[in-house]
């Protein structure tokens, strides 16, 4: 388990500007001349490169945003309808610091279950957050403030921004083994070892479903074992759920891990995002919840979460929250949403099948089982950075260098081309 230290803060050396009166500022040197250009974000940089490529054959399987079978981004029908209802409304007033009450209520039902006793008992401290990133960040800052000696265990690999989030919150990081490069599946034995060897009461980041970037999820039985071990070790489970509904097509099924932990009596934390499952990407709609001992504590925890939000952005954006609560609060719209999220998940599953079939038909010497074993938006192909570079340079196929393929970018139109290219760069391995 590697320890990942804090980033080193840079302090530059600035030459003193020339002193003078009046408009002498012109002769000043910059205060920021020492600032170094920052490295490009590994994930978002891929789309930038893709956009700059003039080739007509180019394929973007980089960033995880859903595309339809024509490779076009999609606005869900239920979202369109919700926006129609919202436009021209009476006010755009500030939401409370903790965000939209309605949106929070609906989000908790989705994650904890419609009939959750924890909701009825008001034991969940919950605030609207800026999508999954914002929810994780609020939790990380909260963890730092109230458990300053705690650290966070993060799976290897994980979404790269997870590391940035806890680093900026000044929470020390440890890792636990997760992905097995040989099987391209879960390294369950190592994961359990790391859970057992972590000091009691450690904080763990768990992907509730559709692990990003590997697509490898524990089975239900494995989740039960993990939960059991967490009980023994008194670990704190923090779930990042960015793909509820998107993984299997059924939100209830995708929340199974969380429900198991709740059954076992864990007091969990949970980050929810509507970016993918409702296609609300840029609206930044999400929710952070923490299950507490009782209502009193939930009120206290919520008030403290608000204190973290207030000096960051005061209160969260209203539009996305209204879309979410309009859809989830209306039985017809909710039913439409469930259909639409299932069809997105189904298309992805279909593309997984197609990609694997294509590769097998091409006579690839390698096993591509993992393409259909893995779940959700991403496939961890097992390709090396060098192979990925070849895909980009020779075939104009864009993906992150860890070999992660965003299945959402695969279409019936490009799956053949993609399979061919992958076969070309891997056939001699």
């Amino acid at each position: 388990m590697a320890a990942i230290g804090r980033g080193i803060l840079r302090r530059g050396i600035v030459g003193l500007p020339a002193v003078g009166s009046g408009s002498a500022a012109r002769s000043m040197a910059s205060w920021f001349g020492h600032v170094e250009p920052a490295a490009k974000d590994p994930i978002l940089g891929v789309t930038e490169a893709f956009l700059a490529d003039p080739s007509p054959e180019k394929v973007n399987v980089g960033v995880g945003a859903y595309r339809d079978d024509n490779g076009k981004p999609v606005v869900l029908e239920c979202v369109r309808e919700a926006e129609r209802r919202i436009a021209g409304r009476l006010n755009m007033e500030y939401l409370p610091m903790g965000g939209s009450i309605k949106m929070i209520e609906e989000s908790l039902k989705l994650a904890y279950g419609d009939d959750s006793e924890f909701i009825k008992d008001k034991r969940i401290a919950a605030v609207q957050a800026l999508s999954g990133t914002g929810a994780c960040r609020l939790f990380a800052d909260f963890q730092k403030r109230f458990l300053p000696d705690s650290q966070i265990y993060i799976p290897i690999p994980t979404w790269s921004n997870h590391h940035n989030i806890w680093r900026d919150a000044n929470v020390p990081q440890r890792t636990f083994r997760y992905y097995h490069p040989d099987t391209k599946g879960l390294d369950f034995a190592s994961m359990m070892d790391d859970i057992k060897n972590a000091p009691n009461g450690s904080f763990f980041l768990l992907h509730a479903c559709a692990h990003n970037p590997t697509g490898v999820d524990p089975s239900e039985e494995q989740w039960r074992e993990i939960s059991y071990q967490f009980k023994v070790k008194k670990h704190f489970p923090f779930f990042d759920m960015a793909y509820q509904g998107f993984a299997s097509g059924d939100p209830e099924k995708d929340a199974k891990a969380i429900r198991i932990f709740l059954e076992d009596g864990h007091q969990i934390g949970c980050a929810q995002s509507y970016a993918k499952n409702m296609g609300l990407y840029g609206q930044r709609a999400g929710c952070l919840s923490i299950l507490c001992e009782d209502e009193l504590q939930a009120v206290a925890v919520k008030s403290q979460l608000q204190q973290i939000a207030r000096p960051m952005y005061s209160n969260p954006p209203v539009h996305g929250a209204l879309v979410v609560s309009t859809i989830l609060g209306d039985p017809e719209l909710k039913s439409l949403w469930l259909k639409e999220v299932k069809s997105m998940a189904d298309r992805i599953i279909g593309m997984r099948n197609a990609l694997r079939e294509n590769l097998e038909k091409l006579g690839s010497p390698l096993s591509w089982e993992h393409i259909t074993n893995q779940i959700g938006m991403f496939c961890y192909s097992g390709m090396t950075p060098e192979q990925v570079d070849r895909l980009t340079n020779e075939f104009h196929i864009y993906m992150t260098r860890n070999g992660r393929i965003s299945m959402a970018g695969v279409t019936t139109g490009n799956v053949g081309y993609l399979a061919n290219a992958i076969h070309e760069v891997t056939k001699s391995s």
Binding site: L90, M92, G282, R284, R310
Partner: protein
């Protein structure tokens, strides 16, 4: 493994007992996990007790937002909310500008609108247009590509991102903020890692600017210190320096290499004129020096809850601006990845269309004029009652707020006896007044002042 029929769904204790029962076998205290295995309950086990957050105390209410909470609880028909600074019409209703409604409709029907994530730095059009709005279309800094602009979550978000950037890359941690200032300022800067100091600003005797004190305190600031400046319509006092005074402040700051960090939350809302309200900022940028600028569209476009704003950093050269922008991304990505699209799209739609822009300036001027008229009416009402004291500051101060000069006890009295809701520092939001409520407020002030003479 549950004792299902023992579950009484109707009561909370019943449900908790049922859950407990599911996990306890008769006669011993071991837990059964969801997979049927026994778990030892150590004294510190997390089940129904021993939460890791048990020590979390309830946070105090936000003083400003708490005013509205208290107002909402009050059943009196006479109540007036002069707390939070959100514009209200003459009828006391919140207002969505017509031009904003128009822009929203256009977006709804626009097939080419962005459906996915914005870049980390936000909507490019919005950023360019925002910089033009505050710095002026003819600004040399813009023409020379020396301005790095990133979309942020309204004024708060812009301040926070700017402050985080400074804490990482600037060699001076001290930031001087005016006394008084918006209650959230010190928290934003402190959490970002800056060290908050103050400079004198408001003079309670004149209810105007303590200019001497301001100059003295800035003069004593260490070289390179950051200075927070309210671009116009100072919150909470409504007291702004004159252009002449701004020029003196600028000279002093440049001579001491103090770094200006502007907070512009009321451009266009103060005087009714967008350019006039940006004069202070433009004066600084014109001298070629660097500065930070936090811009908000919450009030001047009525976009409050959409959280629309921009942080601009005016740099000495285009090269520096590029590098600065890249570093701003590193602050933003682990905070919320990329900013919310809806409000920024509305702003961009309006600012890039000549007619809509014009329409906006008219609606903006109407809001500003109503506020100015409320000031005049309140002043007249107090004069008519012969309320002791000089109340001319009501018409001298500018923007949404008036710092009445009333003290905590007087404010308390007004809340108790007259159901007037305002912050305890004596600040009233003029936007919350109308022709009908002014006499009531005047009565309340009159009574409060006479009572504690």
């Amino acid at each position: 493994m549950g004792i299902e029929n023992a579950r009484d769904q109707s009561s909370s204790p019943g449900r908790r007992l049922a859950t407990l029962a599911r996990h306890l076998s008769v006669g011993d205290t071991s837990l059964i996990s969801s997979r049927g295995e026994a778990i030892d309950t150590a004294p510190t086990a997390g089940f129904h007790g021993g939460s890791v957050f048990a020590n979390v105390a309830q946070a105090p209410e936000d003083p400003i937002l708490g005013v509205t909470v208290a107002y909402n609880k009050d059943p009196s028909p006479m109540k007036v909310n002069l707390g939070v600074g959100a514009y209200r019409t003459e009828e006391g209703k919140p207002l969505v500008l017509n031009v904003v409604k128009k822009a929203e409709k256009m977006l709804l029907n626009n097939p080419s609108r962005v459906k996915e994530y914005l870049p980390i730095t936000g909507l490019a059009d919005f950023n360019k247009l925002s910089a033009k709005l505050i710095f002026g279309a003819d600004s040399r800094a813009i023409q020379e590509n020396r301005v790095a602009t990133v979309q942020c979550l309204s004024g708060t978000g812009s301040l926070r991102v700017g402050a985080e950037f400074l804490a990482r890359h600037y060699n001076e941690r001290a930031i001087f903020i005016p006394q008084p200032t918006w209650g959230n300022h010190p928290k934003v800067f402190t959490l970002a890692g800056l060290s908050v100091k103050t400079y004198r600003y408001y003079d309670p005797k004149t209810r105007g600017l303590n200019f001497q004190g301001l100059l003295e305190d800035l003069n004593m600031a260490p070289s390179g210190a950051i200075v927070l400046l309210h671009a116009c319509a100072h919150n909470p006092t409504g007291v702004d320096p004159t252009l002449d005074q701004w020029e003196q402040i600028r000279r002093l700051m440049r001579s001491k290499s103090l770094l200006p960090f502007f907070d512009s939350a009321y451009q266009g809302f103060a005087s009714g004129n967008l350019d006039a309200d940006a004069q202070s900022v433009r004066m600084f940028v014109a001298d070629g020096g660097e500065c930070l600028m936090a811009q908000s569209y919450a009030k001047n476009m009525g976009l409050y809850g959409e959280r629309v704003g921009a942080l601009s950093i005016v740099c000495e050269s285009a090269d520096v601006a590029v590098k600065v922008e890249s570093q701003l991304k590193l602050v933003i990505r682990p905070m919320y990845s990329n900013p919310p699209i809806h409000g920024a799209s509305i702003v961009a739609t309006i600012l890039k269309d000549r007619e809509m822009y014009h329409e906006w300036t008219i609606e903006l001027k109407a809001m500003a004029n109503r506020i100015i008229s409320m000031r005049q009416q309140l002043f007249n009402a107090l004069s008519a009652r012969g309320t002791p004291g000089d109340w001319s500051h009501i018409i001298k101060q500018i923007g949404m707020f008036t710092f009445t000069g009333l003290n905590k006890e007087q404010v308390s009295f007004m809340t108790r006896e007259y159901h007037i809701y305002m912050t305890s520092d004596g600040r009233i939001s003029m936007a919350g007044l109308n022709t009908k409520t002014i006499p009531h407020l005047a009565d309340a002030i009159h009574a409060a002042v006479n009572r504690t003479k």
